[in-house]
């Protein structure tokens, strides 16, 4: 393929986000709907940047209690321990299962923090009208879209342990507030990345 690609905006076309149908762009895009599937048409995702910021900031705030509050309580007749996400990772490492410690660390610490940073880069670069490495930034968006939900891992592990370890004699496991906060963080970061419209990366004019 040679030369520039043509955009739908230049051709007066619009593609439906929901079903992929391509049609002539109506006079007023907002308020009109797709001829094929009836979904509302939008020029770009509505209030994309504002929504993305709101979800991202909420997620970053909630990430603090998610890490400081107890994720999981282990109670047995002799003692009881409160685990946060990090102390859980350290426990796994010390217990001789470093592979598991790495999996949980990647899913619960690296993925959320990586997602915060990636979304900040995307948002700030779009606000500044940057024309640098658009391909790379679009790829970054695709990566966070694809891996975001794996952070739910630790929440599911806690739910399973709570269901399984329920013995009068040998103790039990309870979930703490940290699990609620962390689940909230994952949902909020997913909503943030779903609100972001990657086409905004390409809308700014080329700087020469």
């Amino acid at each position: 393929m040679s030369g520039r690609v043509v955009t739908a905006a230049e051709m007066g076309l619009i593609g439906c986000r929901r079903c992929g149908h391509v049609m002539q762009r109506p006079q007023a895009v907002e308020g009109s709907s797709c001829a094929r599937c009836g979904a509302g048409l939008h020029w770009r995702k509505p209030q994309s940047l504002e929504r993305c910021w709101a979800f991202l900031i909420a997620a970053m705030i909630l990430y603090v209690p998610a890490n400081t509050m107890t994720m999981m309580k282990t109670i047995n007749p002799f003692n009881s321990t409160d685990d946060t996400i990090m102390s859980g990772v350290i426990y796994l490492w010390a217990a001789g299962t470093p592979e598991l410690a790495v999996i949980v660390f990647v899913a619960s610490v690296m993925v959320p923090i990586g997602k915060f940073i990636a979304l900040l880069i995307l948002l700030i670069s779009v606000h500044r009208g940057s024309s640098r490495d658009r391909v790379g930034r679009t790829r970054l968006y695709r990566i966070i879209e694809k891996i975001g939900h794996w952070s739910m891992l630790d929440v599911f592990v806690v739910a399973l342990l709570v269901a399984l370890v329920r013995f009068d004699l040998f103790g039990r496991v309870e979930a703490g507030g940290g699990a609620i906060c962390f689940g909230g963080v994952v949902l909020l970061t997913m909503m943030a990345s779903l609100s972001f419209d990657p086409r905004l990366i390409w809308d700014t004019p080329e700087k020469t």
Binding site: G15, T97, H149, M152, L164, L169, A179, G183, R199, W202
Partner: protein
């Protein structure tokens, strides 16, 4: 002029004309690299068979315990719903609620909606609630997390292994198969299903 042959990249707004692909081929956007469309690997029959198989393992994965624990004679087995209820009773209702949605209700709804849509199309007509079903399917897609739960089961097993005797149940194997089948089913591009529906309707009109 018909616009049917056009495709617009949803990530960078580039416009292309569609061309038929060979099996295994994928059309990527020349500007941003996004997958635009791929070759239809499945026809309606195969998709329907896949949906049915997914439904069967879904039932099995939920009826049978996923894992059981044995701690010196004390025995406890957990099903997926058991995990949800235990989490609810443990005082973290939001976690139970979210898990139930992501691991039980969304996958179940996806299976039912696929069955509804595909059965209709195979009979050569668009089911009455086709639009609503398709919208629901595309809204649920990012929120269906069976594969994450599968990894969660494995992590939980390894965590408990050594402390107690962990007995994998039929539910575990069923859930593993469910994860694979559901991934195959939901990887099907819904936009292709819209195209098929259009062809089906055109055939009906002719």
């Amino acid at each position: 002029m018909s616009l049917d042959r056009w495709v617009v990249c949803e990530q960078c707004d580039s416009v292309y004309t569609r061309r038929p692909l060979r099996p295994g081929e994928v059309a990527d956007c020349a500007r941003c690299g996004h997958h635009l469309y791929r070759h239809h690997r499945f026809d309606l029959e195969i998709l329907l068979a896949l949906t049915l198989a997914t439904a069967i393992v879904f039932v099995m994965a939920n009826v049978y315990p996923v894992v059981a624990l044995n701690a010196q004679g004390a025995y406890n087995a957990a099903t997926i719903w058991g995990a949800v209820i235990a989490t609810w009773e443990s005082g973290v209702a939001p976690v139970a609620f979210i898990s139930a949605l992501l691991v039980f209700f969304f996958p179940l709804s996806q299976i039912c909606l696929f069955a509804y849509v595909l059965l209709g199309l195979r009979r050569g007509r668009r089911p009455a609630e086709f639009r609503q079903a398709m919208h629901a399917l595309s809204l649920m897609q990012p929120w269906s997390m069976a594969e994450v739960f599968m990894l969660g089961i494995l992590v939980a097993i390894v965590k408990l292994h050594g402390v107690m005797t962990v007995i994998p149940g039929i539910g575990l194997w069923s859930f593993a198969i469910l994860t694979l089948l559901l991934a195959a089913l939901t990887s099907y591009d819904l936009q292709d299903l819209w195209d098929i529906a259009e062809d089906v309707e055109a055939g009906q009109a002719a």
